[in-house]
């Protein structure tokens, strides 16, 4: 497994898309953080960039990469390697490469310009989003045989989580605002990794305002470590479950 990860990484380090992705992230981070004298505002811009770009780029790039590697995966599977090992190694390589890109592009500038807990949370969220959306790309890869359909599904999935889901949630809140919906809301929000990532940062950046709302559950959730732990827990599930699922489907997949 380690061998495959190593060589996938060696391949991806020289990949132009990954390099451009890293460079753009770094350019955005530096311009946002270095120009403004106010780091919390810069951090917020970076949060927006992270919530928008990381899911879409990770998803698309990983999907395309997986589909392009089909023949190589076939060749490797003709070797005495378990399918699960092969798939997870391929995933790890891609997820690792994209994570490194994010760490260099956002992590390093953030640590240089504003090193505090909120920044670290932002980096953690970005890394989680990378892992999650690469894992979702893997699911798409094992479910679809056709590359074009797969890329289409990837775009739809990414858009759903970055924009559509929140719109639906907002209309849900508006229509049921007279009912106690705090608890169902926390449940619903766990269904969207982008929201989870956002809330993880929010819990560090805006706790003060969260404390201002009298909803007992919200306050308990937002105001203590519970919220962060719950969010991290859910996001870990968002990595693990797609991986397990794709491993299961891949076991029966015809190449």
């Amino acid at each position: 497994m380690r061998t495959i990860i190593k060589y996938v990484l060696l391949d991806l380090i020289k990949n132009k898309t990954v390099l451009v992705y890293t460079f753009i992230l770094a350019a955005l981070s530096v311009s946002v953080l270095a120009t403004g004298s106010n780091t919390s505002k810069g951090l917020l811009s970076l949060l927006n960039i992270t919530l928008l770009f990381v899911p879409i780029i990770s998803m698309l790039f990983a999907t395309i990469y997986f589909f392009n590697s089909v023949e190589f995966i076939e060749l490797l599977l003709a070797q005495p390697i378990k399918r699960k090992t092969m798939l997870l190694a391929e995933y790890s390589g891609v997820a690792f490469a994209l994570s490194i890109a994010y760490l260099i592009g956002v992590g390093i500038p953030v640590c240089l310009f504003s090193y505090d807990l909120a920044s670290l949370t932002l980096i953690l969220s970005g890394l989680f989003l990378t892992l999650i959306f690469s894992a979702l790309a893997l699911v798409i890869f094992v479910l679809f045989k056709d590359k074009t359909k797969g890329i289409g599904a990837a775009i739809i999935t990414a858009l759903f989580f970055t924009l559509l889901f929140d719109g639906l949630l907002l209309s849900f809140i508006f229509s049921f605002s007279d009912y106690p919906i705090d608890q169902p809301l926390l449940g619903l929000i766990s269904l969207n990794p982008v929201d989870l990532a956002r809330i993880l940062v929010l819990l560090k950046l805006d706790v003060a305002v969260m404390m201002g709302y009298s909803g007992a559950l919200f306050k308990k959730f937002m105001g203590s470590a519970t919220g962060s732990i719950y969010t991290i827990f859910c996001m870990s599930f968002w990595v693990i479950i797609p991986l397990l699922m794709s491993a299961k489907v891949f076991k029966r997949k015809d190449l």
């Binding site: 020289k14 590697s69 003709a78 070797q79 399918r83 190449l255």
Partner: protein, 242 residues
């Protein structure tokens, strides 16, 4: 060496393999023939475990391959299209496979030398021509000196010289008692090396005979003519010796 019983596989409504029964032994060079979509690739992918059969069994060396993945160490596979990670060099690909196959200590690098691969070992896969990539695929198939060779259209895309080198190598391994499975529709290439012919059509096994039998039955001397005459006469039934 390889025993296939009642192998069936369908994709949705399309039957790719329909109740195939076959048995191959060491020292045989089997030419797997059939028109496009006849199930050749599905058959070899089933043997490689890349396609999961619907029903039927495949045994290699007497052991069923279903749950076992280690058996693949006995197989050298050369795919029809060799696509590799774009930014990897030839050297890295070879090194990677060697690292994956830690179980193997004795490498057969004859083909690597014959193709003069070390000369371009720092070239990335992206920059290579299709022919060179095929050469790399061939080298990898032989690298771990397996017992069984499975080659999907091995000479397609190779230049005549390289093709000749490959054929000689295959013949040599066959003589060493290895089992060789080749799919191809360029028949003449395989004249000299094939000892048996398996003919598939619409997922069904049409016949499985030795070359000599076929030549005798059809009165033709060249393999492609043999096949052509069989396809024309549409009389394969009595040939089946399964």
């Amino acid at each position: 060496m390889i025993t296939i019983e009642h192998l069936t596989k369908s994709y949705r409504k399309f039957k790719a393999l329909d109740n195939i029964n076959l048995s191959f032994e060491r020292g045989q060079a089997i030419s797997l023939l059939g028109p496009n979509g006849s199930g050749k690739t599905t058959l070899i992918k089933s043997i490689l475990g890349l396609v999961i059969p619907e029903s039927g069994t495949i045994k290699i060396g007497g052991k069923e391959i279903k749950k076992d993945w280690a058996y693949r160490s006995q197989i050298g596979y050369m795919p029809q299209i060799g696509r590799y990670p774009e930014n990897m060099t030839i050297g890295q690909v070879i090194k990677m496979l060697k690292e994956i196959r830690k179980d193997c200590t004795r490498f057969d690098e004859e083909l690597i030398e014959l193709y003069n691969i070390p000369a371009y070992q720092n070239k990335t896969m992206r920059s290579l021509s299709g022919g060179t990539r095929q050469k790399v695929s061939a080298c990898l198939a032989f690298l771990f000196s397996p017992e069984v060779f499975i080659m999907d259209e091995p000479t397609a895309g190779l230049d005549p010289v390289a093709s000749e080198i490959l054929k000689e190598k295959i013949a040599k391994e066959c003589a060493n008692g290895k089992l060789i499975l080749i799919t191809s529709h360029v028949l003449s290439d395989l004249d000299e090396i094939a000892s048996h012919v398996v003919y598939l059509q619409d997922g069904k096994l049409k016949f499985y005979n030795t070359i000599d039998e076929l030549k005798f039955l059809t009165g033709e001397d060249k393999l492609n003519k043999v096949i052509a005459s069989i396809m024309k006469n549409e009389q394969p039934k009595k040939l089946i010796t399964v």
